[in-house]
C-alpha cells in the first residue's frame, strides 16, 4: 500500500464513513465542486452527490447552526471551516448552542467541526490559529488534534461516530509534509487516549499536532547527548488522558510540555496543575513548558519563526530540566 498524506487520510475517513452510514453529510464553504480550500473533500461530491456535500454561503454561524439542526434529526454532519480561525465567527453557536445542548435539555449533538489549523506556513494572524483551548475550556465539546495520517483517519472516524460534538483540528503544516502507510482494513483510534511515541527514562515531553514532530526530533538529538526523553502525543485534548500522563510522570519524574498554542491559558498550564494535584510527590523538578509567544501569529518568516517553538527551544528546556 502506498503511503498517504494527512489530507488523503482525512478524505479516506470521510469517504468511508459516508459509505458506511448515510446519516453522514458534509457542510461547508467551497467543499463540493472545488473540493475545499485544501482539497480535503475533493471527489466526494461526485461520489455522494449534492445532498450530502452541501456548499454554503460565507456564513460560519449558519454552517454550525445548520449542522446542529441536522444532528437533531439524527444525521451526523461534518462541518468544514475553511480555516479554523473562522470558527470564531460561530463562537456563539459552538459555545452556547452546541456545547450546552446535551447538558441543558438532553439533546445530543453528534457533529464534527473540522478545519485546517496551526502556523508555520506564513498564514499570518488570521490563517494560523490554534484555537483548541477556547473550546477545550467549554464544557460539552471534545477536542482532537492528531499528528499523523494514521491517527487523523482513525480519530476522525471515532469523532464522526461519537454522540457528542467534536472539534477536529487538522494541522495544515502536516497536511502534505508527512506520509504514512495505512492498514488495508477498517480501523479506528479511540478519542481521549494519548499514546507514548517514544519510550524514555529521564524526562517526559508531552505534545501534540505539529509540535509532536518537533518534540520527537528534539528527543532523538537529546539521545545523542545521553538524555533519554519519553514523548507522549496527546492526540485528544478534551477529554484529557490523565492516566497516560501520570503514568509517565511517575516513571520519569520530570515533565516538559510543548505546544504551538500561545503560552497563557494553553493546555500546558492545565496539565501542570493536574500533575501537581495528582503526582507532586513523584516530581523531581519544576514542570517546564515550551510554547509560542503570547502574541498574535505574525506574518513575516523571521517573525513567525521567532513566534513558534523550535527543536533548539525544546532541547534547551529538556537539558535544563534533565540536569535539575
Amino acid at each position: 500500500m502506498a503511503a498517504v498524506t494527512m489530507v488523503e487520510a482525512i478524505r479516506q475517513a470521510l469517504s468511508e464513513e459516508m459509505e458506511r452510514d448515510p446519516a453522514v453529510v458534509l457542510i461547508g464553504e467551497d467543499i463540493s465542486v472545488y473540493g475545499g480550500a485544501f482539497k480535503v473533500t475533493e471527489g466526494l461530491l461526485n461520489k455522494f452527490g449534492w445532498e450530502r456535500v452541501i456548499d454554503t454561503p460565507i456564513s460560519e454561524s449558519a454552517i454550525i447552526g445548520a449542522a446542529v439542526g441536522m444532528s437533531y434529526m439524527g444525521l451526523r454532519p461534518v462541518a468544514e471551516m475553511q480555516f479554523i480561525d473562522f470558527l470564531a465567527c460561530a463562537f456563539n453557536q459552538m459555545t452556547n448552542f452546541v456545547a450546552k445542548s446535551h447538558y441543558r435539555w438532553g439533546a445530543p449533538v453528534p457533529m464534527v467541526v473540522r478545519g485546517p489549523s496551526g502556523g508555520g506556513v506564513h498564514g499570518g494572524p488570521f490563517h494560523s490559529a490554534n484555537p483548541e483551548m477556547y473550546y477545550a475550556h467549554t464544557p460539552g465539546l471534545k477536542v482532537v488534534y492528531p499528528s499523523t495520517p494514521y491517527d487523523a483517519k482513525g480519530l476522525l472516524k471515532s469523532a464522526i461516530r461519537d454522540n457528542n460534538p467534536v472539534l477536529f483540528l487538522e494541522h495544515k503544516f502536516l497536511y502534505r509534509r508527512i506520509k504514512e502507510e495505512l492498514p488495508e482494513g477498517e480501523y479506528t483510534v479511540p478519542l481521549g487516549k494519548a499514546i507514548v511515541r517514544r519510550e524514555g527514562a529521564d524526562l517526559t515531553i508531552i505534545s501534540y499536532a505539529a509540535m509532536m514532530h518537533t518534540s520527537l526530533e528534539a528527543a532523538e538529538k537529546l539521545a545523542a547527548e545521553g538524555i533519554s526523553a519519553e514523548v507522549i502525543d496527546l492526540r485528544t485534548l478534551m477529554p484529557l488522558d490523565k492516566e497516560t500522563i501520570l503514568a509517565s510522570v511517575k516513571k520519569t519524574s520530570k515533565l516538559l510540555i510543548v505546544h504551538e498554542d500561545t503560552r497563557t491559558g494553553g493546555i500546558a498550564g492545565e496539565i501542570a496543575a493536574m500533575v501537581c494535584e495528582n503526582a507532586f510527590e513523584d516530581l523531581d523538578g519544576p514542570i517546564q513548558r515550551v510554547t509560542s509567544l503570547d502574541t498574535p501569529v505574525p506574518y513575516s518568516p523571521p517573525l513567525e519563526e521567532r513566534f513558534l517553538p523550535g527543536v533548539p527551544d525544546v532541547m534547551r528546556a529538556a537539558r535544563e530540566l534533565a540536569q535539575y
Binding site: 448515510p22 449534492w50 449558519a62 441536522m70 456563539n92 441543558r104
Partner: protein, 416 residues
C-alpha cells in the same frame, strides 16, 4: 381558508390562547411570591401569534419557540406543568432544573428544539432541521419565531440567506411587538415593515395583524403549505405590541400611554371572543365550560409544580456528554439507496453563471440607479455576450434591451 376550521378547531384556538394567558397570570403571582427562580417574560397580547402559527403545524413538523411563545409550546403538546416546573427550577421539569423558562425541547415526539437566550441562532438551526428532513424524505416544515429586535443580529441574516439559497422548508415568524427591550423599532431598523427584508433574500413574505388569531393562522397555514410543497422559506411579520415590560422587573415607562391604550383595544383574546359570539360558534355556557377546564388543569399542574422537589445537588455534575444515554437514529422515509453510491453519484449541475453577471439586463426599475461603465466592451467580451444567440445567454433579457431607459450614474440621482 379560516372558514375550513371546524367549530372544534375554532374553540381550540380560544382554549390555547386563554390557557396561555391564564398560565402566565398565575406565573406573575408566583413571581411575586418569589416562587419563580429567575426572570419572567410576558407574552400578554401576543398569544394570538404563538397559538395561530403553531396551530398551522402538524404533529410531524418541527418548531423552536422563543421566550414569548408559551402558547406555541402548549399547542405543540407541552403541558402547563412543564412551564410551571421550568420557571420554578424543579427536578420534575423537562430540563430537571438545568435550565429555566421555555428553554426546553423534545426531539423524540413533539419535535421541539430548545431556544438559547442569544437571538437569531435558531434560524440556521431550524433551517438545518428542515434540510435534514428533506434529505431523509420526511415532508416536514420547520418553524421558528423572532422578535423585531432579533432581526438585527448577524446570524438572523446568515440563517435566512442560507435557508433561502437552500430553499429550506422554514417558516420564520417575526413578531414585531414594537420594542426591543426599551428600543422602538424605528431606532432599530430604518424600514417600516420588517417583512421587507424577505425581498433581499428572494423569499416569500406576508404581513399579518398579529392580534387577529384567524388571520395569523391563515398566513401560517399558507406558509406551511408553501414550504411543504418545496417552494422555499417564508417570512411572516406579525404586527403586535408587547403589553408588559421586557420582563417583570421592567415597568416599561418608555411606552407612551396612548400606545398602550390603542393596543389594549386590539387585545387578541377579546377580539376573538367577540368573533366567536358573533359567528355563533359558542355561547356563554360553552365559554364557561372551557374556562373552567383551563382553571382545573392549571390548578392541578400548579399544585404539582409547587409540590415538586428541587433537583439533588449532585445532578450539577451529570450530563455534560452523551455517554450512550441517547440512541441517535435518523428516521428515513426514502430508500437510503438514493443517497448511497453509486446511485447518489450525479452529474455536475447548477454551477454556472447564466448571464455571466453581465450589466446589460439589470432591471433598472427595481433599483434607484445602476452605474454602468462608459468604457466600450472589449472585443472578446462583446462576442461572448452578444455573439451566440443559440447559447440562450440573453434569452429573456434580449426582449428588454432598448425598452429600458439607460441607467443613470448614482451621482446624478434625481436629475435626468
Amino acid at each position: 381558508m379560516a372558514q375550513t376550521l371546524s367549530r372544534e378547531q375554532h374553540l381550540d384556538l380560544y382554549y390555547y390562547m386563554r390557557l396561555n394567558r391564564s398560565l402566565e397570570e398565575r406565573m406573575v403571582r408566583l413571581f411575586r411570591q418569589s416562587k419563580i427562580v429567575g426572570g419572567l417574560y410576558s407574552s400578554l397580547g401576543q398569544e394570538g401569534i404563538s397559538v395561530g402559527t403553531a396551530y398551522a403545524l402538524e404533529a410531524r413538523d418541527w418548531m423552536a419557540p422563543m421566550i414569548r411563545n408559551i402558547g406555541a409550546l402548549l399547542v405543540k403538546g407541552c403541558k402547563p406543568r412543564d412551564i410551571f416546573t421550568q420557571h420554578m427550577a424543579k427536578y420534575t421539569s423537562p430540563t430537571l432544573g438545568k435550565d429555566g423558562t421555555s428553554h426546553f425541547g423534545d426531539l423524540k415526539t413533539k419535535h421541539i428544539v430548545s431556544p438559547i437566550s442569544m437571538l437569531g441562532d435558531l434560524i440556521p438551526v431550524l433551517a438545518g432541521v428542515g434540510i435534514a428532513g428533506r434529505y431523509l424524505g420526511q415532508k416536514i416544515v420547520a418553524m421558528t419565531w423572532i422578535g423585531d429586535g432579533g432581526t438585527s443580529t448577524g446570524v438572523f441574516h446568515e440563517g435566512m440567506n442560507f435557508a433561502a439559497v437552500q430553499r429550506a422548508p422554514l417558516v420564520c415568524v417575526v413578531e414585531n411587538n414594537q420594542w426591543a427591550y426599551s428600543t422602538p423599532v424605528k431606532r432599530q431598523v430604518p424600514i417600516r415593515n420588517l417583512a421587507e427584508r424577505a425581498k433581499s433574500y428572494g423569499i416569500a413574505s406576508a404581513i399579518v395583524d398579529g392580534n387577529d388569531v384567524l388571520a395569523v393562522y391563515q398566513a401560517a397555514k399558507d406558509a406551511v403549505e408553501r414550504c411543504r410543497a418545496g417552494d422555499g422559506p417564508v417570512m411572516i411579520e406579525a404586527k403586535t405590541h408587547r403589553m408588559r415590560g421586557h420582563a417583570q422587573h421592567d415597568p416599561a415607562e418608555y411606552v407612551p400611554k396612548a400606545m398602550v391604550e390603542y393596543w389594549t383595544a386590539q387585545d387578541p383574546i377579546g377580539r376573538y371572543e367577540k368573533y366567536l359570539t358573533n359567528a355563533g360558534l359558542w355561547n356563554e355556557k360553552k365559554k364557561a365550560e372551557i374556562d373552567a377546564r383551563i382553571e382545573r388543569e392549571l390548578d392541578e399542574d400548579q399544585k404539582f409544580a409547587e409540590e415538586s422537589p428541587l433537583p439533588p445537588a449532585e445532578l450539577a455534575e451529570q450530563g455534560v456528554f452523551c455517554d450512550g444515554c441517547h440512541e441517535i437514529k435518523a428516521r428515513w422515509e426514502r430508500p437510503v439507496e438514493e443517497v448511497t453510491p453509486p446511485r447518489c453519484s450525479i452529474e455536475m449541475d447548477g454551477w454556472t453563471v447564466e448571464d455571466f453577471g453581465q450589466l446589460e439586463n439589470i432591471e433598472t426599475e427595481k433599483m434607484e440607479s445602476v452605474a454602468v461603465s462608459k468604457l466600450a466592451p472589449s472585443d472578446q467580451r462583446s462576442e461572448n455576450v452578444s455573439g451566440d444567440a443559440k447559447s440562450g445567454v440573453r434569452s429573456g433579457g434580449q426582449k428588454n434591451t432598448g425598452a429600458k431607459s439607460p441607467a443613470r450614474h448614482p451621482l446624478r440621482k434625481g436629475k435626468n
